[in-house]
Symmetry: C3
Amino acid sequence: MKPDASPAREPIADRLARLGLTLPPPIQAPGGIRLPFPFVHVVGRRVFVSGHGPQAPDGTLAPQRGKLGRELDLVQGREAARLTALAVLGSLQRALGSLDAIGHWCRVFGMVASAPGFNRQPEVVNGFSELILEVFGDEVGTHARSAVGMAELPFDIPVEVEAELELRAPSPGR
Amino acid sequence: MKPDASPAREPIADRLARLGLTLPPPIQAPGGIRLPFPFVHVVGRRVFVSGHGPQAPDGTLAPQRGKLGRELDLVQGREAARLTALAVLGSLQRALGSLDAIGHWCRVFGMVASAPGFNRQPEVVNGFSELILEVFGDEVGTHARSAVGMAELPFDIPVEVEAELELRAPSPGR
Amino acid sequence: MKPDASPAREPIADRLARLGLTLPPPIQAPGGIRLPFPFVHVVGRRVFVSGHGPQAPDGTLAPQRGKLGRELDLVQGREAARLTALAVLGSLQRALGSLDAIGHWCRVFGMVASAPGFNRQPEVVNGFSELILEVFGDEVGTHARSAVGMAELPFDIPVEVEAELELRAPSPGR
């Protein structure tokens, strides 16, 4: 049980700038497919993040497609996971107004499109987890995690991540 | 952060009748396998829905089996996802007494048994999401969602959905 | 909606001893891979359990690797799921101090590495669920569950389980 983060922590926007990280714009599903759900859904203090894949800086899906262990190697997979983290942060920023509203990361479910015999999913999903910890620090960014190998993912993306977070408790003084 | 639904909304049972939708009876696992868990598990205001597959109107598993992109096409997959939504609604109705007890859908995890090269999972799972939105409306039915491709599903069903919901807050006047 | 467990229930440590069950020590990821996340993450009263696999009594990953329906049969798969439950209990004990802190199991997501045509995931994951119910009883141990077939799992383990639980409410008298 962790206390809520101190209000004096560095604003996440400053930390992103300091790390040279830019968040992509909202993704459009390829082929004009209707996605009848929000990328981020807030219920009370709980924040549910829909499955996200890696985006290019212009907001489209990143061009690297296929499976780890066949079309993509470990380095490319880690980069896809890192781009997925940036995509999730972009969605959270737009849905919450500010990434400083986040009190705790809770759960990260990391799915890696895997060719037969590829069993290094944790190293791929580290590309996601390490970015989150770098941006949010341990106190806010720590999360439970699974990293597993999928038969197929939508649009042949190599990585998809679903997550759950919790908003900061309202300050008693406000 | 969405307010709880207004008490004046149309009862879900009326909406189901108006839409001509009938909920199937509880499923029996094929082959008499013991399933040592409930279909719906309520903890406080949180509602955890176990993985459900598509059911026929008589309650048995729907006869369409196999993988999308091989035994089943997109139209059949969407219909399987729609039947899965009806199965989940049947379980929720029996567990909660009334579907009006639901305050918010939170999370839908849509799993599609996928042959190699099938990457249209979102269009399949839309059959689930669209039914939920039709029955509950946006205010209650909106949910975060993932749609992913599985190597295999139990009993060779084409679609399985796990979900989480939240009960309505108790009315202060009661 | 279930009440919190009575304080008079048998301590879980006693029940484990009575059942002859020993919990393994913390796992080390094979090959010295860095795992940048905790095995158990507590946020408020919510307990998020990272994906766990089967461990041998010495804490290493259990030697049985591969897929159900090819390298492993149903009996071996059920045993792998049972060893996964013991691994999860070990992590919970270390994170919470005592398994008696658990108020409710909420959700179990059971993933089975599955060769093509293997569709008996529920029977495999029963090895997990049945141990949890044996140790915690129905009141605390009941959980929603999914059991699904994965293309690949890390380190070629046959079973991985992710879970969510809730801590007991603080006693008003304390």
